[in-house]
């Protein structure tokens, strides 16, 4: 019993230490971001790795989520004779909720885990130390460009996810459910507001992108420099990103809901 309490205390202390270290780490990185203006090439390269290479999974998921939403929405709406609103339902679900959340979860699994493993391996093989001895700060040269690229890529990926989802919903609605294409778009246009719904989604995807990339680079930089350390850090990135995104999603929704 006593041992349990001790374990709990130790785990709490570790967690608090981790939060402290990651905050300091983030502070140093943010302070170094302006320097990247002089090295746009570093960020562009990472945008390619983090953003462009995630496009396939994000696009395919977006299309399928949109198609499923149209089908599921139709079966509920048709009971109320409101099946013409299926476009609104698809667009609102995607912009307010599913677009940012699902993109962030996929982003954590695809790009975040890769970031952690890459940085962790560089640490485990002394590459970061050797960079330091060459008077190159690895936080600025290696980590900061990846962080910035993640901030930029995630909202763009979420936007693509939403657009393709709305498109997928359109295809299903018109070809399988017999909804008029004009009604699909006009209902959507009439009922989705920019200031509420779209802004809502943009705020969420910015926040999730920030948190997901921060977790990924910190776990890589802070990992134990061993094979097991790297593999654990990669797992932690996926788990922590998912939990953080879902928790923040509730918080943001509650705050923005009125």
């Amino acid at each position: 019993m006593l041992a349990r309490i001790q374990d709990l205390g130790a785990a709490t202390l570790t967690a608090i230490g981790r939060i402290g270290r990651s905050s300091l780490f983030l502070g140093r990185l943010l302070a170094g971001l302006p320097l990247l203006v002089k090295r746009p090439g570093l960020v562009i390269q990472q945008l390619y790795v983090i953003g462009v290479l995630s496009l396939v999974i994000i696009s395919v998921s977006g299309v399928f989520v949109g198609m499923v939403l149209a089908l599921q929405g139709y079966y509920t709406l048709v009971d109320f004779g409101a099946e013409q609103s299926v476009g609104t339902l698809v667009a609102l679900s995607l912009t307010r909720e599913l677009g940012p959340v699902v993109t962030a979860l996929l982003f954590g699994g695809r790009a975040g885990s890769a970031l952690t493993a890459e940085i962790g391996l560089m640490k485990a093989t002394d590459q970061l130390s050797s960079m330091e001895m060459m008077a190159v700060d690895p936080e600025r040269r290696v980590v900061a460009p990846r962080l910035l690229a993640g901030f930029i890529a995630m909202p763009l990926l979420a936007a693509i996810f939403i657009l393709l989802g709305v498109g997928g919903g359109y295809v299903v609605a018109t070809s399988m459910l017999g909804i008029d294409g004009g009604a699909y778009w006009s209902q959507m246009q009439a009922n989705v507001s920019f200031s509420d719904d779209i802004a809502n989604g943009v705020i969420k995807s910015l926040t999730f992108g920030f948190v997901a990339t921060w977790i990924a680079v910190f776990e890589g930089y802070d990992c134990k420099p061993t094979s097991e350390g790297v593999s654990r850090a990669t797992t932690r990135t996926v788990v922590h990103t998912s939990l953080a995104v879902l928790g923040l999603d509730f918080l943001l929704t509650a705050l923005m809901f009125d």
């Binding site: 560089m122 093989t125 002394d126 590459q127 130390s129 050797s130 330091e132 001895m133 060459m134 008077a135 190159v136 700060d137 040269r141």
Partner: protein, 273 residues
């Protein structure tokens, strides 16, 4: 400031005490590295030779004692001053530590591109010269995974000298080298030191090779400097530590084993548990 600027001492380590993982590694170590000399640090595996280099390079902080380089106390330096000091240092890592997703050429070009601001054409020339010096110009396009261990070490050496440092650290430069490249490397270290006016610190187990190029040898064991002097002085030394190390004797004060309870206790303890 400390008196290290006089009498040509470039790196002054005094009364250094460090513990790692709860075990004391250094327990009052004094080392003076003189400008323009090749200083060798020898000692049994696990005595903290790599740790010593990391302390001088500012990657670790001592628990107490001072580490002074060019008159500046390394542990007390701010991050930016430390980085400025490191521009004048070169370190060959024990593991090589090449960037695995860059080719050999780009590895050597890395510090030049980061710091020198030289035009690309000049950088390409410099990189070829450095690779030529270690005999691997032909391997410029290969990735580190495509090199042998000894070759990787030599590329890492080319990268370490790319910025023409004033103070070079070599951590085990000879391990994994065949007799031919070993002889070349030994000469290269000496020539670099003399021709470019460097100060070099060589960590190595290879007693004979080190004795041919070092001006001064420090022998570490058991957390202290057990002997220091010129190679000739060490050859004459009667210290049991030195004799065992120089003559590669199995019996003597240097333990082969990492500290532990006796084997019998260890085995019996397991059975009774």
């Amino acid at each position: 400031m400390p008196s290290s600027q006089d009498n040509g001492v470039l790196v002054d380590v005094r009364d250094l005490r460090v513990a790692r993982g709860g075990r004391p590694i250094f327990d009052g170590v004094d080392i003076q590295i003189r400008r323009g000399e090749v200083t060798a640090v020898m000692g049994p595996s696990g005595t903290g030779k790599t740790t010593l280099l990391r302390l001088i390079g500012g990657q670790l902080k001592p628990d107490s004692g001072q580490v002074v380089v060019e008159g500046q106390s390394v542990p007390a330096l701010s991050r930016s001053r430390l980085f400025r000091l490191r521009r004048r240092m070169g370190m060959l890592f024990q593991s090589g530590a090449l960037f695995t997703d860059l080719t050999c050429f780009e590895n050597v070009a890395f510090p030049l591109r980061e710091h020198s601001g030289l035009p690309e054409r000049l950088i390409r020339h410099l990189v070829r010269l450095k690779l030529e010096a270690v005999g691997l110009r032909g391997a410029a396009g290969l990735y580190p995974a495509e090199l042998s261990g000894g070759m990787a070490r030599r590329v890492a050496l080319a990268r370490a000298i790319a910025m023409d440092p004033k103070l070079m650290f070599y951590d085990e430069p000879f391990s994994g080298q065949d007799p031919i490249s070993m002889g070349t490397l030994v000469q290269l270290i000496r020539q670099l030191n003399d021709a470019l006016g460097l100060t070099s610190v060589v960590v190595s187990h290879d007693v004979k090779e080190v004795a041919t190029i070092a001006d001064r040898i420090y022998m570490l064991a058991d957390g202290r400097v057990v002997e220091s002097g010129t190679p000739a002085e060490l050859q004459r030394s009667q210290s049991a530590w030195v004799r065992q190390f120089m003559d590669a004797l199995p019996d003597g004060p240097v333990p082969f084993h990492y500290p532990a309870v006796s084997l019998a206790d260890d085995l019996l303890g397991e059975d009774s548990a």
